[in-house]
Amino acid sequence: MAAGPYNYSYIFKYIIIGDMGVGKSCLLHQFTEKKFMADCPHTIGVEFGTRIIEVSGQKIKLQIWDTAGQERFRAVTRSYYRGAAGALMVYDITRRSTYNHLSSWLTDARNLTNPNTVIFLIGNKCDLEAQRDVTYEEAKQFADENGLLFLEASAKTGENVEEAFLDTARKIYQNIQDGSLDLNAAESGVQHKPSSPRGTQLSNDQPTNKEGCAC
């Protein structure tokens, strides 16, 4: 991980939140590895994944923070909401309780991120149509009322997984383009990385080890 030219122009920070067992880690794994991980062990605290995507000809690195779903782990996960440009809020279409908890997740997301954070609602496990417990229409209405983007997806089949992650990035990029997202704001969740090696970097991108080693 030597310092050097970046092969992407932006970094967007995402968080994935939602009840335990809704498939947050599996969505992340499907998106970064294009594979479904059956029997994926539950996440403790926060875990991390990354992938470079392209939006409007710009290479964007997504840094995705995957969080533990059980409520008591919020003590650890809460600090990772800060400075997220995108929040993927996941429920399981086969378990109504995970849908009913969305308002509490949304409150957390709204309180702990900035007003420009793009929140994307994902109804996961849409491959399990026979066990459906939450209708598409109902969730769509919830999303519309709260100004959220929404898709049903399946981490297992991969359906709509790309779309959810990419649509979030497109929306963030659009917010940058129309000026509603201020890149210089401390917690925008977006970093601009000029691709040229000699380009100016944001101060906090300087390899900090230099001063460290001199001590």
Binding site: M1, A2, A3, M20, G21, A38, D39, C40, P41, H42, I44, G45, V46, E47, F48, T50, Q63, A68, G69, Q70, E71, R72, F73, R74, A75, V76, S79, Y80, S97, N204, D205, Q206, P207, T208, N209, G212, C213, C215
Partner: protein, 469 residues
Amino acid sequence: MFERMAFRSDVEDTVLTRSCSYDSSYEMVETPPGLTSLGAMKEELPQEEESPPQSVCCQPPLDKPTFQSMLDPDGRLVNEHALRKAVFRGGVDPTVRKDTWQFMFGLYPFLSTAREREVMSAEHHFKYHQLKARWKTLLTMSSLGKTEQEQGVSAEYLDDDLDLKVESFTDDADMKVPAMDTTNISTETQQQLQFLEIQAQVFAGRQPINMKDIRKAVRIIDKDVPRTDRGHEYFKGSGNPHLSILRNILITFAAFHPKVGYAQGMNDILSRFLVVLDSEVAAFWCFSSYMETIQTDFMEEGMLRKLNLVRQLLKELDTVLFNHLENCDVGDMTFCHRWLLLGFKREFPFEEALRLFEIISSHHMELSSLDVERVRDQERARDFLREGGQNRVVGAPLNTEYTFELFVCVAMLQNIRQQLLNCRDGTEIFQTVSGLSGKMDLAHILRKAETIFMSYCRKSVIDCFQIVE
């Protein structure tokens, strides 16, 4: 909750007791060259008088003959310290792991005789099954007419991707307590057993229980059980009966420990006990006893406690690395949360993690142990002769909250120190750290942790010496 049980009081101290006799081998431990982070300490220690590096840890595991030689004719394990020390040195050979864990994790007191253990074993059996029967009965009663799966009394773990012809395992959801094998025992003993069973029934009936809590726990447990160590031989395959046992134990624990209930990660801890002990009853009691000592780690208010300790310890031992993590905005050490919560389970292959877990759980090397006191005494004496009243900087005194596992954390971080220092931001640090899983040499990490631990003891001595002056 269980503290109220009569036999628990005997057991408790076995878990908490620290080592209690002297051991001169610590003198040999020395800071190896190249530990830059300890440079500051090393400067204060005259190098020429130090003995060559020799590690206490990473010896051959405790084997069966050695373990058996520790038992007296009545089956008492008289020298608890010797056992803990042996476990710390090299872990336990799989052939004798079960026996060792039964003592180490409080199933039986070290000083119990083999005969006393037979009675306790019967007691454990009845009490556990009565507790289990209690929540199962309650779940049944509260939703009559539904199937057992709907009631939450039992669960099936069929893998829908696998051939459905695989024989489905149906849990013994029977509310009756399974009888013990009484073929070879006298009438007198049989009466004794009956008495124990009634006692257990009364005991289980007296425990407060809350249906709402149980239902909540069952929901979470049912999400976690099917994803517990499915790659391990013991839990592999569709309809594996061990998963139902895992579930039973987790619910029983959660039902009677309402304060901590069930938290994700407990399944990972329990699976180890089940694999090693291969007994539902023994695994329940060892797991409960272990959980009672660390349950605050699983509660919201205690979740950050150990992370803060790692933070403090790293700050004391390696300011440069600490500052770098702070600058990268990951000074909260969240990236080692999983290490500590699960006892490094996902950081090493199962077997190795098991060894590390027993080594840490031996509590042989802790700052509160007398062995450490001895090292400090020696250091004080040496220091006095050597430096005789010279002025030095006063540092922080020894903090006994720094348990050995925290030193293992610091060792793991220092092991990739340069890589971490090369990271440009917190995400790179997270990536580097999560890339460690399965790639570390346990023996190397242990030696390193031990070295750092001993250096910390010496440093604190030097610091304290100054305060006394």
